[in-house]
Subunit: 411 residues, 2 copies
C-alpha cells in the first residue's frame, strides 16, 4: 500500500469543484473529473437493479462502444428516476467534458450519487465544466475522493505499487459508499486507475472476478442501489504491458483485487451509524449456491444484526436465519463458531460459557463461522450490525429533498 | 365479530397456569391447554424454516397420524434447537396430557414460543400438567390468549358467529406474534376452534387457502421463525355439518378466513416497537411471482421501512426496492401511489405537492400502491415501518438468556 488515491498511478490527473449541488451555499466539493493523459483500456461493472440511474445507462452505453478515458462524477443528486430528461443531462455532461478535452463523447463516463427522483441541477453544473476540465493535476486525487462522498464519514482512498519487469506499476482508487449497501454492488462508486497496460478483454475479466470477490460480498442494509458503479482505467503509462500469459500477471491481479477488497472493507467499516464489522463465513455447504444463500441470509437478518449491535452472542437467531435461508440445511448438522469459540454443535448449544461468547462479540470485528457439514462449498459475506442510529439516520430525507426543491436545485 | 376467543365455539374448554417458565418468581400465565369435549377433525400449517422447533416436529407428526383434540402451549421457551432431548420433552408433554384426558398421545398437539436454544424446564412443567388438565372451563379462553403471548403488548382474540341452516356456527381464536414475523409464518401461534363439522380434507384445504391469504402475507422484520404454527380444530358441536357442496359453505369459509386475516392484522399492528401498518399492493404485474417478489421486496427494505418510520413519503426508495426485487420490472412503466396520492408516474416524480404526500403518511395506516403496468397479476403484503426502538428492543436477549440459565430454568 502506498500514499495516494485515484491519481496515484502515472498519467492520471484530476480536479474537483464545489458547485452547490447539495446546498446552494455549501462549499463542499461535489463535482469531480478524472482524466488519463494517455489512451486507455477500460472496464466497468454496474448495478443489477432494474431501476438504473441515467448516469449508469449512459456510462454502460459508452463502455460498450469503446474505452473510457475521462470520468465526471458528482454527489448530491443521483440522477435516478429522472426519465428521458435525466439521460439527456448525463449525455450532455459527457459531451461537454469531451469537447473540453478533445475526446469523443463516448470516451467519457459519468457517475452520480445522492437523492433519487429529483432532476439534476444542470444550471449549476453546466457552466462549471470548462473550469473543471481546465485546471487538472495529479495532486488533486484526494479532492475527487472528497467530491464523491455523501453520508460517508471519510474519504476512501487505496493505492498500491507492485514491481513488474523491474518497473513500478500502480493501482490507485477512490470510492464512496456507506448506506444502501448490498451484494451486487450498492450506492457505491469506485474509480480505479492503473498505469499498467492491459488489453480490454483481460481487464474486463479480472475486474469482474475482483468485483465478485469484494463489492458483491458486502451488505450493510440489504438494499441495492440504482447507481452502483465500478470503473477501471488502464493507460500503460508505467511502460509495462500485461496479459494473463505474462509471468508476472498474477502480481497485477493481486494488486487490483487487493484494492477492491480494501475499498469494500472501507465501505462496510464506514456503514451508516453501525458499530461492527462482521465476517459471515459459511463452510461445508452442499453447493456454492447454498453457501451463498445461507451467508447472505444471516448477513441480512434484522434480528441477527440487532443482536450484534447489542453485543449479544445469540447463536439461536443465527441458526434460525440459517434455517430460513438455506434450502437443504439439516439442523442437526449445523455447527456455529462465534469469534473463534464454539457456540453451537449439531444444532444445539455447547458448554462454552455464555459470558466468554459475550466478551468476544464486544470486539469491533469478529467472524461468525457456520459449518453446514454437508459438503465442501464455501462463501463469505462482510457485513455490519443494525443499529437504532442507522434507522434514525435513515428515517427522513424529506426535509433535505424538499429544501432542494425550494432551492431550485432541480433544474 | 363476537366476544370471546379460542373457546367461543361450542364444546371447547381451556385452562392456563403460571409455571415460572419465563421467570421463577413470575406470576404471568405461561402454560395453557385447549381441549374439545367432542371428537374433532383438524388441520395445521407450520413454519417452512429448515430449523424447526421440537414442538413443531411433534405436532406435525401427530397431525399426520390423525386428528388432534387437545393442544398444550407454553411461552418463555421455544423448545427449538434442543436436539433429540427437545423432541422427547415435547412428546412427553403430549403423552401426559393424553393420559389425563383419556386420549391417544397423537391426539395432542404442542406449541412453544420463546427463546431458542435452551432446554425446556420440564421440572417446572411436568408436575403442573395434571392441574392444567383438571380444571378446564369454557370461561378460560382468555387465559390461554394471555399464556401464549411473549413480547406482544396485548392478547389477540377474534371470534365470529355465522348462521347456517338457521343455527349459530362459531369460529373462535387466539394468537400470538409480534417479532420475527415474515411471510410463510413467523414466531406466531394461532389456535382456531370451530363448532362446525367439517371433513378433514375439506378443513385442510380451506385452512391452507386462508393461511396463504393472511399469515403468509405479513412481514415485520423479514425473519421467519422456527416455531410458526396455525392449528384449527372442528368439532361439529353446532350440529351443522359442512362441505364444499353445502349451499352455505361459503359463509363458513368467509368466517374462518376473516378470523385468520384479523389475527394477521393484529400481529402486524402489534409489531415490536413499530408505529405504522402499511399495505403494499402490487398490481399490473406480468406474473403472480413477479407481483409477490416486488411486494415482498418493498415490504422488507430496511431503507423503505425506515423512511415510513420518519413519516417520509420517499417514493425514490420504494422504486429502488421495486427495481432490485423484480426481475422483469421496467422503470419507465412504474406508477406509485402513496396513501391515495400519485407520487410517481412512469418512473418519474409527479406534480403532487410533497407536503401533501408527507401529510398522508403521518397516518398510522396507509397503502402503497405499485402499478408495474405490465400485466394483470396482483399481490398484497401487510407490513410495518422499522423503528430505532425495534432495533433497540432486539439488541440483546443475553441478560434474559443468561438469567434463565442461572435460574436453572433449562432442566
Amino acid at each position: 500500500m502506498i500514499e495516494g488515491g485515484v491519481t496515484a498511478a502515472k498519467g492520471y490527473v484530476a480536479n474537483a469543484l464545489s458547485c452547490g449541488i447539495k446546498k446552494p451555499t455549501a462549499t463542499r466539493l461535489d463535482l469531480a473529473l478524472v482524466y488519463s493523459t494517455e489512451p486507455t483500456t477500460s472496464a466497468g461493472t454496474f448495478t443489477t437493479n432494474r431501476v438504473r440511474a441515467a448516469c449508469v445507462r449512459v456510462s454502460q452505453s459508452h463502455l460498450r462502444r469503446g474505452n473510457v478515458r475521462a470520468i465526471i462524477a458528482n454527489s448530491g443528486n443521483a440522477n435516478a428516476c429522472t426519465g428521458a430528461g435525466g439521460v439527456a443531462v448525463a449525455r450532455k455532461e459527457c459531451s461537454i467534458v469531451a469537447r473540453q478535452l478533445g475526446l469523443k463523447t463516448a470516451e467519457v463516463a459519468v457517475c452520480s450519487t445522492g437523492v433519487i427522483g429529483l432532476p439534476m441541477p444542470m444550471m449549476r453544473i453546466e457552466p462549471r465544466i470548462p473550469e473543471l476540465c481546465s485546471d487538472l493535476s495529479a495532486a488533486k486525487g484526494h479532492d475527487v475522493a472528497s467530491a464523491i462522498i455523501t453520508s460517508d464519514t471519510r474519504e476512501k482512498e487505496v493505492a498500491v505499487e507492485v514491481v513488474i519487469e523491474g518497473k513500478p506499476v500502480r493501482v490507485g482508487s477512490c470510492c464512496k459508499g456507506a448506506g444502501m449497501i448490498s451484494p451486487c454492488m450498492a450506492t457505491m462508486i469506485c474509480l480505479i486507475c492503473t498505469d499498467a497496460g492491459v488489453a480490454r478483454e483481460d481487464l474486463d475479466a479480472t475486474v469482474r472476478e475482483g468485483v465478485s470477490l469484494s463489492f458483491n460480498r458486502i451488505t450493510i442494509d440489504g438494499d441495492m442501489s440504482t447507481n452502483d458503479t465500478t470503473l477501471v482505467l488502464a493507460n500503460g503509462a508505467s511502460g509495462v504491458n500485461l496479459s494473463p500469459a505474462h509471468p508476472e500477471w498474477g502480481k497485477f491481479v493481486e494488486a487490483l483485487h487487493f484494492v477492491m477488497m480494501e475499498q469494500a472493507r472501507h465501505i462496510v467499516q464506514d456503514g451508516e451509524r453501525v458499530t461492527k464489522f462482521v465476517t459471515v463465513r459459511v463452510v461445508g455447504a452442499p453447493s456454492p449456491q447454498e453457501a451463498k444463500r445461507v451467508a447472505e441470509g444471516v448477513a441480512k437478518s434484522a434480528l441477527v444484526k440487532s443482536s450484534w449491535n447489542g453485543g449479544d452472542p445469540n447463536w439461536g437467531r443465527i441458526i434460525h436465519a440459517v434455517g430460513y435461508s438455506g434450502r437443504r440445511v439439516r439442523e442437526e448438522k449445523v455447527d456455529i463458531d462465534i469469534a473463534g469459540l464454539p457456540a453451537c454443535r449439531g444444532g444445539e448449544q455447547t458448554d462454552t460459557p455464555s459470558d466468554d461468547l459475550r466478551d468476544r462479540v464486544q470486539a469491533r470485528e469478529f467472524e461468525v463461522l457456520i459449518n453446514l457439514n454437508m459438503g465442501a462449498d464455501e462463501y463469505v459475506v462482510y457485513t455490519t450490525d443494525l443499529s437504532p442510529e442507522y434507522v434514525d439516520f435513515n428515517r427522513s430525507e424529506y426535509a433535505y429533498w424538499n429544501q432542494a426543491k425550494r432551492d431550485g436545485l432541480t433544474k
